[in-house]
């Protein structure tokens, strides 16, 4: 089993609206997968399908190496937190946890208390009803709820949504700790790439229901790091020239732009070498990008593609 979770052109339609459009994601065991997309990009719908709350209109998925149908019997190994945590407001945190544990046939109250302590809901909150909780406390309880069945996989939908900066840091640290200490594979969605980049090991960018890119953390760092962005008159020939110069870390975008991630101080030498080979340099610049700018460039690019398609 190469991937713990994998989708194959998974699609969800609501009438004429396609919320998720032939999406393929790949998640390895132990990874924290950051699913990034704007509001309405299809993140929640995708997670709902993976959580068994919604049926795909087309395509399929496999979890723990088992097909969608077979996954049904392994669902107690998956912890799910979709949108805001679903909690009974007139009950305490423990009582909410107890409900889920009873369903799973568990009868270990001390484990539930341990989980509450783990997520930072200690004895001081013991007697409080959930309706008296702050948003951050509710999110932490929501995460504790997902851990009740000793899951191997967590599906967390926007767990930092609406939290203050302090709350965001706490939830982020909690998720990182869970992954490390309990060896849980986590699929987490958010519209804030900056936040996910602090914990995720792999990313998928979802835009208007489509997966427009999937990359690892090191690839993300590379893409956002300093680089030479070169626009030659002939990119194919230019690649041969820069390879002859011993440059190996480069990437060709849109068949016209070459990003070079090494020897950033040698831009003059590169232009000269290209000129010697009768290749014009139409533009050259040393660039680096903030994560959010990178994300915007990706989704902005997708918008442009859509517009072109319409034309």
């Amino acid at each position: 089993m190469e991937y713990l979770l994998e989708t194959d052109n998974i699609t969800k339609r609501y009438g004429k609206i396609t919320a998720v459009d032939h999406v393929n994601i790949h998640l390895k065991k132990g990874e924290i997968y950051g699913l990034i997309g704007r509001n309405g990009a299809g993140k929640t719908t995708l997670l709902k399908m993976l959580a068994g709350l919604a049926k795909p209109s087309e395509g399929s998925y496999s979890i723990f190496g088992e097909s969608e149908k077979e996954t049904a019997r392994l669902r107690d190994r998956i912890g799910v937190l979709i949108e805001s945590p679903g909690l009974y407001p007139n009950m305490t945190a423990f009582e909410n946890m107890k409900i889920k544990s009873l369903m799973l046939g568990m009868n270990d109250d001390s484990f539930l208390k341990e989980l509450l302590t783990d997520v930072g809901l200690d004895s001081r909150t013991e007697k409080l009803k959930v309706k008296q909780f702050s948003l951050g406390m509710k999110q932490r309880l929501g995460i504790a709820m997902t851990l009740v069945g000793h899951p191997d996989l967590l599906l967390l939908d926007e767990p930092i949504n609406g939290l203050d900066p302090q709350g965001i840091v706490e939830i982020r640290e909690l998720i990182a700790r869970l992954s490390k200490e309990r060896n849980i594979t986590i699929l987490i969605s958010s519209h804030i790439l900056e936040e996910l980049s602090k914990i995720s090991t792999r990313y998928g960018i979802l835009h208007n229901g489509q997966m427009i890119d999937e990359f690892t953390h090191s690839e993300l760092l590379k893409r956002c790091s300093e680089r030479i962005e070169l626009r030659p008159s002939d990119a194919t020939k230019a690649v041969t020239v820069i390879e002859k110069m011993g440059i190996t870390e480069y990437k060709v975008l849109d068949k016209s732009v070459i990003q070079i991630f090494e020897r950033l101080e040698d831009s003059g030498e590169i232009v000269l070498e290209l000129a010697k080979n009768n290749i014009k340099t139409l533009g050259i610049a040393v660039k680096n990008e903030a994560l959010e700018d990178y994300y915007l460039s990706l989704t902005g690019g997708a918008n442009k593609r859509e517009e072109n398609g319409k034309e």
Binding site: K48, A51, G52, L53, A54, K55, A72, R73, R75, D76, I78, V80, L81, I82, E83, S84, P85, G86, L87, Y88, P89, N90, M91, E95, N96, K98, I99, K100, L102, M103, L104, G105, M145, T146, G149
Partner: protein, 267 residues
């Protein structure tokens, strides 16, 4: 399934609405006792001799009458409707279903377990009402005699089956509308006999088309069948017809709820 029922009963025990409805049932039992006492014992000498008994149709209160007074009553139906609707919809309303439904392999089990739990809760609440009313009558009614246990069990059996069927219908409408308001409105329309008007119109239409038909539509509407059923005096044939109607509505309502739960996405 057993775990799901256990979970639902735990939730029921910790829900404020359960205890509020239990208290309302006790108050209702007191009110029923008050009216029986006024009519039969007549402590304020408001009626001529035997007038109260004539109005009620019996002169001494026994177990069978207590059952009929308690269960054959639109007020208790409304209490049951509110209880079932609130309980059935709480999981969806709070969003708690998102924590649970994905982790079971058959979603329909949730609907079945929730309905069974609602019936258990409703039975407990009715039992409380019965114990209170029975206790009050036994202690404070001059005209109380236990009566025939067999007659009491016969009435209890028929009317309890009717209440269980009502609970299934209320449950179905709550599942269908996914809202307490929708469920309560549908349940009140049934409990308050508002459907009777439509049923009477249907009967009239059938009578116009077929002169002297052997059956009329209202015989097969559950609310009408329940309210007009004479639980203590019913013979074998009438009893069997009533049981058959109950079972058909029960199966359709529970089956429909399970199907809705299985087929629908959780939103």
């Amino acid at each position: 399934m057993f775990n799901l029922i256990k979970m639902n009963l735990y939730r029921m025990r910790h829900a404020v609405s359960t205890w509020v409805i239990a208290i309302v049932t006790i108050v209702f039992a007191f009110m029923q006792f008050g009216s029986l006492k006024l009519l039969l014992d007549d402590p304020f000498h408001m009626f001529d001799a035997g007038e109260g008994a004539e109005m009620l149709g019996f002169s001494t209160v026994g177990g069978e009458h207590i059952i009929t007074t308690l269960l054959h009553n639109s007020n208790i139906l409304i209490i049951a409707a509110v209880f079932v609707v609130l309980f059935a919809n709480a999981e969806h309303k709070s969003g708690f279903d998102k924590n649970l439904i994905g982790i079971t392999n058959h979603k329909w089990k949730h609907a079945l377990a929730r309905w069974i739990s609602a019936v258990i809760g409703m039975t407990c609440i009715l039992a409380i009402g019965f114990v209170v009313l029975f206790g009050l009558c036994a202690l404070f009614m001059n005209s109380f005699s236990f009566g025939s246990a067999a007659a009491m069990l016969k009435s209890a059996g028929f009317l309890y089956l009717g209440m269980v069927t009502f609970s299934a219908i209320f449950f179905f409408f709550t599942t269908l509308f996914k809202s307490s308001a929708g469920g309560i409105v549908a349940s009140l329309v049934i409990s308050l006999g508002i459907l009777n008007l439509i049923e009477q119109l249907l009967d009239l239409a059938v009578n116009k088309i077929f002169s002297h038909p052997a059956y009329v539509p209202s015989d097969f509407f559950f609310d009408n069948a329940y309210m007009t059923f004479d639980a203590s005096g019913a013979g074998m044939k009438a009893g069997l017809v009533f049981v058959a109607i109950c079972l058909v509505y029960l199966a359709l309502s529970v089956g429909g709820s399970m199907l809705l739960q299985q087929k629908r996405d959780v939103r």
